[in-house]
Amino acid sequence: MYHFLSGYTAKVAGTELGITEPVASFSACFGAAFLTHHPTVYADLLAEKMETYGSDCYLVNTGWTGGAYGVGHRMSIKATRACVNAILDGDIKNVEFERDEIFGFEIPKTLPGVDSHLLNPKNAWADHAEYEATKNRLAQMYIKNFKKYEGRGSTDYTKFGPQI
C-alpha cells in the first residue's frame, strides 16, 4: 500500500513539453490526475480486496537499470516479460530471495529466463558508489513525498517506506 500511495514512476521523454530525459515523479495510485476521493480511500479498498482474495503483489522495474540515464539502459521487454511470466506461472514462489536493507524489498536471486545479474540493480549497475548514492537520493524523495499521507487513511503506511 505504501508503494500504491507513492505511485513512483518516471516521466518518459517526449510525453510532456520540456522533458528530455526520464524524471522521477510520484503519482498517487498510479493515476493521481483522475482521483476524486483522497488517495488513501483507494489504498484502503485495495488492501481490503487483496486480503479478501489472497492476491499477491510484485513491483517490476520496466524502467532504467545499469546506471543513470545515458549510462544504463531501459529493461528489455524480453527480460520484463520473463519476470512477469515467472510471477504468473508461480515459479517465483520456488526461488530464494535477498533483502534490500533500505527499501525493504525482497528481491529474487534467480528467475527462469532472466539474467540473474539484472534482478538486483546493485549488480546491474557498473558504478557501485554511484548506485548507492542514487538509491539514497531516491529514498529521500520517497520519504519527502510520503509526508502528506502520514496519519491519513485507516493505516499509516509510513513505516513500510525506505529506512535511512
Binding site: F4, G7, T9, A10, K11, V12, G14, T15, S27, C29, F30, G31, A32, A33, F34, L35, T36, H37, H38, P39, V41, Y42, L45, L46, K49, T62, G63, R74, S76, I77, K78, T80, R81, V84, I87, L88
Partner: protein, 461 residues
Amino acid sequence: MNRDFHQASLKPTKQQTRNKSAAVAEVCLPEREEYNVSKTLIGPNACKEAGIENLGITGPTTIYKNLTFQQLFEHEVANNEGKVANCEYGDTFTVDTGRFTGRSPKDKWMVKNVGSESDRHLDWGDINQPTTPEVFKELYEKAVASFNKKDKAYVFDCFCGANPKSRRKIRFVHEMAWQQHFVTNMFIRPSDEIELEGFEPDFTVINACSQVDEEYKKHNLRSEVAVVFNIEEKKAVILGTWYGGENKKGIFSLMNYWLPLEGDLPMHCSANVGRRGDSALFFGLSGTGKTTLSADPHRALIGDDEHGWDKDGIFNFEGGCYAKTIDLTEEKEPDIYRAIHKDALLENVALKPVGEKLVPDYHDTTKTENGRVSYPVFHIDGYVSKEIFWLFTLFKTLPKIFDLIVNLSIRSKWQVILRTFSFSLVTPLVFYLLSANYHPSKRCIISYQDIRLKSPEPSWE
C-alpha cells in the same frame, strides 16, 4: 497449449499480406454489424424523442442518435470533418483536434455544492478544483444556447463499466460526427434496442466544443476552455476543447467517485486473465508498459487502461482502447498497428501523400507528440467481451463447469468440439440463470472463442 500453432497462424503468409485489409475487415465484421441501434430523429419533436429536451436543448430539428459505424464514417466524410488515411490494414478516418492535442487538467473543475455528499467526499485541491453552482449555471446556459443555434446534434447513449451491477448509464451530446465516433469506440456500446428501453442517464455530458467561455475571468476560471462536472446535477459541460480524451478521462474521474462509495475499487491499470480465470493487473503511468505487458500471448486481454474490482471480479470500464501512435510500427506494437483500420479513429496524426494515397506518418510529430488512435476493443485479437465477464459472474457458483469450459476453449485443438459442446451445455444454464434484462444470444456462447492466443512480442524500444 500449442503455441507454435498459434504463432504460425498469426504470421501473415504472402497471400494474407496482399489481402491484409480485407482479412482484418472480415474478422471484425460480425461485431461491427451487430452494433445497430441507430435512430435519426427529424422534426420539431426530435430533441424530446432523443431525451435532451429536459436539458433545455430544443433548437435542433435533426438528432443523430447512436449512429452505426458505417453511418459515422459517412457523416464524417460528408461533413468534411477530417481526412481518410490509407492505412496498411484499411482506410481510417483522421481528425485534427485543433489547438488542444492533450487533456487540459488545469481547466477541469468540480462544482462545490456546499454541504452535499460530493462536497464531503471530494479531495479538494489542485486535482479537484472547486467552482460554484452559479458559474456552472452560466456555463451550462452557454452550452445549451450554442446547441439551440444549431439545426442538428449527435446524441450517444452508452455504458461505463462492464458489470451491470455497478455500470453507469452515460449520455453524450456532441456537435460533430467524429466526436460521437470517439465515444462509440471508447465506451460500452448498447447491445440492442432492449438495453436502451427506458434509458435514464446517470450522467450527461454536453460537449459544446466550438463555444468558449469569454467571461472566464469573471468566472474565476483559468482560460476560455472549461471542463466542469456537477455531480449532484448529474451533468458536465465541456467548452472550448475538441480533445477526445476529456470525455473518456472525465467519466473515469466520476467512476473513481461513485465506485468507492459502494465499496468497489476503480483502478488506472491494464488487466488480463489466464485460463484458470486468474486475473493480473498492471499499474503504471503512461509509457511504463501497461498496454504492452497486458498483451500476453497466453492470456486474454480484459482492457488496457480503466478497470473496476468488485465482488464479481475484475472488469473493464471501457469498450475500446486509446493508444499513442508516436513512432508506431508493426514490429513494436503489432496489436495496436493492426487495430488501425476502418472504424478506428486517428487524432492529430500527420498524413503524407504517397502516390495517390494519403498515408499516416507516425514519426512526424510536428503537430504533437500525443498523436492518438481510438478503436473498439473487438479490433484486438483475444479480449474478454462483456458477455464473457457476465458469464464469469454467473459461473462463480459453478466453478468446475466454468474451468472446464475455459480450459477447453483455450486449447486450440478442442475449439471446434467446444463450439458444439459448450453451446449445448451452457445454453440451458444461461437461460435458467440470466435475468430478464439480458437476452442470451448465440454470440454470448461463441464469445468464449475470444479467449485465445494473441500475437506475441512487441518491443518498447
